[in-house]
């Protein structure tokens, strides 16, 4: 009983997570954003309902049916451990489907099942800056560039800068 409440609460928070992800991402996707938010609310209602009935105790059958009203919670009621896919949401990064892994009633992992752009190649879900190795950034030699960005140089520092060398070549 408690685990089911936890699982549906977990699904509810996954729904909110998806909705949060979606909000602020694309105005045109408001419809699907609302849909996933509604799915999350359904789960939340189920969890509050089951906690209410568990306090009165013994009415496990009725809570089982109310729990089943939330999509996906049918499987959750059978086992407290497992993976649960969310609905596919359109974002500016392409279609995104989130899967949660639940163990002992807690979300232990959230993974993106489907993460593609128009060319069907994998893309990062956000534009966040992530740790990267030096040989993973776009490389260039100074001979291959037309201009150079660096922390503000003084006129004196300019004299010995790569930009000065480029400018001298084109003066």
């Amino acid at each position: 009983m408690r685990t089911r409440a936890a699982v549906s609460a977990a699904l509810a928070s996954a729904g909110i997570l998806i909705a949060g992800w979606q909000s602020g991402v694309h105005v045109a996707d408001t419809g699907s954003s609302v849909a996933s938010a509604a799915a999350g609310t359904t789960g939340a209602t189920g969890s509050s309902g089951s906690s209410g009935t568990s306090s009165s105790s013994g009415t496990s059958d009725s809570t089982a049916s109310s729990g089943a009203s939330g999509a996906g919670t049918t499987g959750a009621s059978a086992k407290a451990v497992g993976t649960y896919p969310g609905s596919v949401v359109q974002t500016r990064f392409g279609s995104v489907q989130v899967q949660i892994t639940v163990q002992a009633g807690k979300i232990t992992d959230v993974t993106a099942l489907q993460l593609t752009d128009a060319e069907r190649k994998s893309v990062q879900i956000s534009n966040r800056a992530a740790p990267i190795l030096r040989d993973e950034v776009l490389q260039a030699q100074s001979a291959d560039v037309q201009t150079i960005s660096g922390a503000t140089v003084t006129s004196e520092a300019y004299l010995n800068s790569l930009q000065a060398a480029l400018d001298a070549a084109n003066l």
């Binding site: 990267i132 950034v137 260039a140 560039v145 150079i148």
Partner: protein, 275 residues
């Protein structure tokens, strides 16, 4: 990265001049500036127009000139209310950036003196770009002390992007990365801020101490690519001052690419800087 070696040597023409305590470079494809009788008079005139923009703004906003309006404000001889519209407009813009960066970018020094130098160079680059555009020049690259704004392409009509290098803060004679500006992309500006050199307009957010002696933020250098140079410049400054939290706020809230170098040499990059 597309090979651009065929652009070397005579394909580009450059003019440089000193202003705002740094060196400004204007680079154009050979023949891209409508000149006088096929000579380079057109480029010289364009460069002079750019120089006038920088010098005009420096006259008003420089704290290094005792006679500037900014210096008179700093000494308390002039109040903001009585200052010029240009001063008040830039001050309002700076305050707006302070709000949007939650204080990581600030137009006021810890001692209370109004210092708009973190904003003015980017503003000057943008205005200079407008001056070039209004002269009908549509392929150019402006570099002011390492902050860059481009339009068009180094090979007019080809759609090829300008290739910008980012200096390695650990070895200033080497490039850390490259970034394509302009061309088919919407990001035409690239600005780099660091705490190692001339970071006199960067203060650690809320700490009242300069980042040069404040290792909490932890970035030696931050490069930001954006559609406009003021956004790139201000956010690069804000991320150096505000650290990792500001970095994530910036990438969440603006359409930008960021390459940040921690003091220990570790890199953080958005996908746009990935090979």
């Amino acid at each position: 990265m597309q090979p651009t070696s065929e652009l070397g040597g005579s394909a580009l023409q450059a003019r440089t001049f000193g202003s705002m305590g740094t060196v400004i470079s204007l680079t154009v494809p050979a023949g891209a500036v409508p000149g006088t009788a096929g000579g380079e008079g057109g480029l010289d005139a364009a460069s002079a127009a750019v120089e006038r923009v920088f010098d005009g703004l420096d006259e008003t906003f420089s704290l290094y000139r005792p006679d500037s309006e900014a210096s008179r404000l700093a000494r308390g001889e002039l109040s903001l209310r009585d200052s010029s519209a240009a001063m008040r407009d830039r001050y309002a813009e700076a305050l707006s950036w302070r709000l949007r960066t939650e204080g990581a970018f600030s137009p006021e020094r810890p001692d209370g003196v109004l210092d708009l130098s973190g904003l003015i160079k980017g503003y000057a680059i943008g205005q200079a770009g407008e001056a070039l555009r209004s002269r009908g020049i549509t392929d150019w690259c402006l570099n002011a002390g390492g902050d860059i704004l481009v339009m068009g392409s180094p090979v007019p009509g080809s759609g090829t992007a300008w290739a910008a290098g980012v200096v390695d803060p650990m070895d200033r004679s080497a490039l850390l990365a490259a970034y394509e500006l302009g061309g088919p992309g919407t990001r035409c500006a690239l600005a780099t801020s660091g705490s190692a050199e001339r970071g006199d307009h960067i203060w650690a957010a809320g700490a009242g101490s300069r980042t040069a002696g404040f290792s909490g933020a932890g970035f030696a250098q931050v490069s930001v690519a954006a559609a406009d140079i003021v956004t790139a410049d201000v956010l690069a400054t804000a991320i150096v001052a505000g650290g990792t939290a500001m970095l994530h706020r910036a990438t969440d809230g603006w359409e930008i690419d960021v390459l940040a170098v921690r003091r220990n040499g570790e890199l953080l990059a958005t996908p746009g800087f990935r090979a």
